[in-house]
C-alpha cells in the first residue's frame, strides 16, 4: 500500500522534529488497526476460512474431519444435530460433539462437512469475482479516465451495455450456462459481468487525478503513459479500488448464494451455501438445522466482509465517513457520488449524449 516513489501527498503525516514523517500507507494501516470492529472482522474471516479448509481438506488433501461432504452415512437420531453445548450442571448432556454435530441431511450426508464445503466454495467465488472485477474494472476505468475523449466514450458505452442488465439476470444466464462446471468456472464467468461499478469509480478518480500537478510534472519529466498510469495515478486511486473491491466481494457472496438458490449456480453434488438452503427450504418445519447452519454462515461472511470494507474506507478517508455499500444483486453505481456531478461540473450526466 505504501508507495514511496509516488508523489502521494501525506497531508496528515505528523511532521514532528524527532522522527521522519510516516508514509501514507503506514498511516492508513495504522488507522485500520485502530478500528477494532474491522480488525476483528478480518481475523474472524481468516479464522472461518482456515477452519473450513482444514476441516474437510482441499481437493485430494484430507482434512481433520472424519466425514466427507459426499459420503452417505447411516441416519442416526433422525439426522438431528448431536452437538450439545449445555453443560451437565445445567441439566444438559454436557459439551459433546457426537457423531454428526450439525446433523445430517435427508439422505444421511454429514451436514458439518457439507457446510464447510459450502463455505469453501463461497469464499472461492468471492475472491475470484473480487479479483476479476477489480482487474477488469481498473483497466477499463483507468484507460477511459486517463485518455478521455473517444476512448472514454466508447469504453463507458460498453460499460453501460453491461450495466443495463441487472446482475441477477445476467448472473442467472451465465450460471445456467456454466454452473455445472464447478465453482471456479462460475466465478470466472461471473467476474466478466461484475466489473462495471469499479470501472466507473476508477474512471471518475482518474479524471480528476490526471489534472493534478504531479501528473503534469511526471509528463514533463518524460514519463510514458503506462508509467504515469501505474506509478503515479493508480497508487493515488488505490483507496477507492480497495474499498470497492471489498464491497464487491461481499455482494459476490450474496450473488453466488442467490444464484445457487435459484438453481443457476453451483449444482449438486457439489455444495454451496445457497443450494443447501434451496434444497432444504421445504423441510423447514421438520429439519430446521438444515436451514440455520448455511444461513448463519452466509450472513456472517457477508457481514464480516462488509465490516472490513467499511473499516478500510474509514482508514483511507477518515474525514469522509461516508457509507457507499453496493450490492451486486442490486447494482447502483451512482452518478450522485461522482465527484464531477457533486462539484457541479458537467460530468457524467451530460457526456452520455454528448460524445
Amino acid at each position: 500500500m505504501s508507495n514511496d516513489n509516488s508523489p502521494v501527498i501525506a497531508a496528515e503525516a505528523t511532521l514532528s522534529d524527532s522522527k521522519p514523517p510516516e508514509s501514507q500507507g503506514r498511516l492508513i494501516f495504522k488507522r485500520f488497526l485502530g478500528n477494532r470492529v474491522a480488525v476483528g472482522a478480518l481475523l474472524l474471516i481468516i479464522a472461518i476460512i482456515i477452519f473450513a479448509i482444514s476441516a474437510i481438506g482441499l481437493g485430494p488433501i484430507p482434512g481433520w474431519w472424519k466425514y466427507g461432504y459426499t459420503g452417505l452415512n447411516d441416519q442416526s437420531n433422525g439426522g438431528r444435530p448431536t452437538l450439545s453445548v449445555v453443560p451437565q450442571w445445567l441439566g444438559g448432556t454436557g459439551i459433546t460433539l457426537g457423531d454428526h454435530p450439525w446433523g445430517q441431511d435427508r439422505i444421511g450426508k454429514d451436514y458439518f462437512a457439507m457446510t464447510m464445503r459450502g463455505i469453501q466454495n463461497s469464499v472461492l467465488v468471492m475472491v475470484v469475482i473480487g479479483l476479476m472485477a477489480t482487474a477488469i474494472g481498473v483497466t477499463v476505468g483507468a484507460i477511459a479516465g486517463y485518455y478521455r475523449g473517444k476512448t472514454d466514450a466508447i469504453l463507458m458505452r460498453i460499460t453501460d451495455i453491461f450495466i443495463v442488465i441487472p446482475a441477477l439476470v445476467i448472473g442467472s444466464v451465465v450460471g445456467h450456462a456454466v454452473g455445472g462446471f464447478g465453482a471456479a468456472t462460475l466465478a470466472v464467468m461471473l467476474g466478466f459481468f461484475t466489473w462495471m461499478g469499479i470501472a466507473r469509480l476508477v474512471r471518475g478518480e482518474f479524471l480528476s487525478l490526471r489534472e493534478r500537478e504531479f501528473v503534469e510534472a511526471a509528463r514533463v519529466a518524460g514519463a510514458s503513459d503506462a508509467r504515469i498510469i501505474f506509478r503515479h495515478i493508480l497508487p493515488n486511486a488505490l483507496g477507492v479500488v480497495i474499498v470497492s473491491a471489498t464491497l464487491i466481494m461481499a455482494s459476490a457472496i450474496l450473488l453466488e448464494t442467490a444464484l445457487s438458490f435459484l438453481g443457476f449456480g453451483i449444482r449438486p453434488p457439489d455444495v454451496s451455501l445457497g443450494n443447501l438452503i434451496s434444497s432444504n427450504q421445504s423441510a423447514f418445519q421438520t429439519r430446521p438445522w438444515l436451514f440455520w447452519w448455511p444461513a448463519l454462515f452466509i450472513v456472517s461472511l457477508a457481514l464480516l466482509v462488509n465490516f472490513v470494507g467499511d473499516g478500510l474506507r474509514d482508514a483511507f478517508d477518515p474525514r469522509h465517513r461516508r457509507f457507499k455499500l453496493r450490492r451486486m444483486t442490486e447494482e447502483r453505481p451512482s452518478l450522485a457520488e461522482d465527484e464531477q456531478v457533486r462539484a457541479g461540473d458537467d460530468g457524467d450526466i451530460i457526456d452520455a449524449g454528448q460524445k
Partner: protein, 510 residues
C-alpha cells in the same frame, strides 16, 4: 435540451440493442430448448421435435435468429399497428400475450416495495442523521449493515415460515401475552424517546408516556378481540385525523402558522363528516369509485388550504392536501377493516397467504378482494422492500449529515430561522437531489430482485416468466422479460438525469 434528449434516446437504443444481443447469445448457447423432447419416449418424438424447430426457428443459427427476433420486436415501435411480435414460447403461446399479465403483478409488487422503501428509508435516515450517535442511530446502523448482508431469499423464506405461519397460528387465539405487551411497549418507548431527544427529563417523560399508552392500547386490543373484529370507528378516526393535522402542520408550516393549522383541522373534521356520509356509497363502490373519491379528496384538501391560507398559501395547501389524503386513507382503512371478518371466514381463519397472488374462487366486493391482494402481496413486498430499504436509510443519513454541515445551513441558522425550517426547507430538499439517482438504479435492482421473491412466493410475474423460461431453454419469454427490464432501467436512468438537472441548477444539460 431537445437535442440532448434526442441524442440520449439514440444512445439508449444502441445500448439496448447491444445488451439484447449479448443476452440473446448467452441464453441461446447456454440452454437446449429440445431437451425435454429428446429424453421423452413419445412415439411421435421426431415429429414433435421437428414441429418445435419450425415454430421457434431453431434451424437458424442464434446470431441470425437474433435479427429475426429483432425484426418482430421492432414492429412494437409502430404505434397503433398492433403488430408486436416477440416470438412464441415453447408451449406455443405468444410472448406478447402473456407479458402484460405478468407485468401487472410485478409492477404492483415493485411499486409497493419502492414507495415504502423510499418513504421509510428516508424517514429513518433523516431521523438517525438528526440524532447522530444516539442509541437509535447505532441500532439502525447495525440493522442496515445486517440487512445488507442478508440475502433476499433468506428473508423471504424466513418471512414465510415465521410471520405468515406464525401470525396465522396466533390468530386462532389472538391474545397477546402480558410479558410480550410489556416488551413491545418498552421498545416503543425507547424508540420514541430517542427520536424526540432533548434533555434527560423530557426524554424520560416522553418515553414513559409512550410505554404506558402503548401498553394500554395493546392490552385493550388483546382483551377485546380487536384483531378478529377490527375497525376504527368515528372517535378514533377523529382523534387520529386531528393528530395528523397537528403533526403535519408542526412539520411543514410550524404551529405558529395558525392558518395552516386551521386548514388541517378543518380537513380533519371534513374527514369525519365523510366517514358518516360515505358509508352507504362505500357498500356499492367499485375500484373506479374509489379513484374518483381519491381525486375529490385531493381537490378538497387543496381548496381548503387555498381559501384559508393567507400570504403563504402554498404551505396551507400542502398541509391541507396531505392531511386530506391521510385522513381519507383512515376512513378507507376503516371500511376495509369492516370487511375483515367476512374475508377471515372466507379463508378459514388463515389470512396471511404464502403462495400466489390471489385466493382462487374468492368472490366478494372490492373490499374483500382488496384485503385479499393485501394479504398476498404483503410478505413479498416486505421481502423486496428490505433489500433497498437499508441502502435508502444509509444514503439518506449520509446525505443529511453532509447537507447539515454546509455553509448555507449555517447561514440559515445564523439568520435566526427555527430549526424546523432549517431542516425541512433548507436541508431536506437538497438532500433529496442525489437520492433521485439512487431511485433510478433501485428500480432496475428491484425488478431483478423480484425474480427471487416471485419464485419463493409463487407469484406469476415477470420474474417467474424469466426463471421458468431460462430453465426450459425457452428463449423468447426470457428476451421479452429482458426487453421490459432493460427498457425500464434505461427509462428511469434517463428520468433521473433529467430530474437531477431540474433539481440542481449547477448541472447543465446540453
Amino acid at each position: 435540451m431537445v437535442s440532448f434528449i434526442l441524442r440520449r434516446i439514440l444512445v439508449s437504443v444502441l445500448i439496448l440493442l447491444a445488451a439484447s444481443f449479448i443476452m440473446y447469445m448467452l441464453t441461446a448457447y447456454s440452454s437446449d430448448p429440445l431437451e425435454d423432447l429428446r429424453s421423452s419416449n413419445a412415439l411421435n418424438k421426431d415429429r414433435l421435435i421437428q414441429a418445435r424447430i419450425q415454430t421457434l426457428q431453431l434451424d437458424v443459427p442464434p446470431p441470425l435468429r437474433w435479427f429475426l427476433w429483432l425484426g418482430g420486436a421492432a414492429k412494437c415501435l409502430i404505434p397503433l399497428a398492433n403488430a408486436c411480435d416477440l416470438g412464441s414460447t415453447i408451449s406455443n403461446a405468444q410472448v406478447i400475450d402473456i407479458l402484460p399479465r405478468a407485468m401487472q403483478s410485478t409492477i404492483q409488487l415493485v411499486t409497493g416495495a419502492l414507495v415504502l422503501a423510499i418513504v421509510l428509508g428516508l424517514a429513518l435516515g433523516i431521523i438517525t442523521a438528526l440524532r447522530q450517535y444516539s442509541g437509535l442511530d447505532n441500532v439502525i446502523t447495525f440493522t442496515s449493515f445486517f440487512l445488507f448482508s442478508l440475502p433476499s431469499f433468506l428473508i423471504a423464506v424466513l418471512l414465510k415460515e415465521f410471520i405468515a405461519i406464525g401470525f396465522n397460528n396466533f390468530l386462532e387465539k389472538p391474545i397477546i401475552a402480558i410479558p410480550l405487551i410489556i416488551v413491545i411497549a418498552v421498545i416503543l418507548g425507547l424508540i420514541i424517546q430517542s427520536i424526540v431527544g432533548g434533555d434527560g427529563r423530557r426524554r424520560l417523560i416522553v418515553g414513559g408516556a409512550t410505554t404506558v399508552i402503548s401498553a394500554i392500547v395493546l392490552y385493550a386490543i388483546s382483551l377485546s378481540g380487536w384483531l378478529l373484529h377490527p375497525g376504527l370507528g368515528p372517535v378514533v378516526i377523529l382523534l387520529l385525523s386531528v393528530g395528523i393535522a397537528v403533526g403535519l402542520t408542526a412539520l411543514i408550516a410550524g404551529l405558529r402558522n395558525r392558518r395552516a393549522l386551521t386548514t388541517g383541522l378543518i380537513v380533519a373534521v371534513l374527514a369525519l363528516i365523510s366517514y358518516f356520509s360515505l358509508q352507504g356509497l362505500f357498500d356499492i363502490s367499485s375500484a373506479a369509485t374509489l379513484v374518483i373519491l381519491g381525486i375529490a379528496t385531493i381537490v378538497v384538501g387543496l381548496a381548503v388550504g387555498f381559501f384559508m391560507g393567507g400570504y403563504d398559501r402554498s404551505q396551507s395547501m400542502r398541509v391541507g392536501v396531505i392531511t386530506a389524503l391521510m385522513s381519507g386513507g383512515l376512513v378507507l382503512l376503516d371500511r376495509f377493516l369492516q370487511s375483515w371478518p367476512t374475508y377471515f371466514s372466507d379463508v378459514n381463519g388463515r389470512p396471511i397467504a404464502t403462495v400466489g397472488y390471489q385466493t382462487p374462487n374468492l368472490g366478494g366486493d372490492v373490499w374483500v378482494s382488496g384485503i385479499d391482494s393485501f394479504t398476498h402481496f404483503m410478505l413479498p413486498t416486505i421481502a423486496l422492500l428490505l433489500i433497498s430499504f437499508a441502502s435508502y436509510t444509509r444514503y439518506a443519513r449520509a446525505g443529511m449529515l453532509e447537507v447539515m454541515g454546509q455553509d448555507y445551513v449555517r447561514t440559515a441558522r445564523a439568520k435566526g430561522l427555527p430549526e424546523r425550517t432549517v431542516v425541512v426547507r433548507h436541508a431536506f430538499r437538497n438532500m433529496l437531489i442525489p437520492i433521485t439517482t439512487l431511485v433510478a438504479f433501485d428500480v432496475g435492482a428491484l425488478l431483478g430482485g423480484a425474480i427471487i421473491t416471485e419464485s419463493i412466493f409463487g407469484i406469476p410475474g415477470m420474474g417467474q416468466l424469466f426463471f421458468a423460461g431460462l430453465r426450459r431453454g425457452d428463449l423468447n419469454p426470457v428476451m421479452g422479460y429482458f426487453i421490459v427490464i432493460a427498457g425500464m432501467a434505461i427509462l428511469f436512468n434517463f428520468l433521473a438525469d433529467l430530474a437531477y438537472a431540474a433539481l440542481d441548477p449547477r448541472v447543465r444539460v446540453r
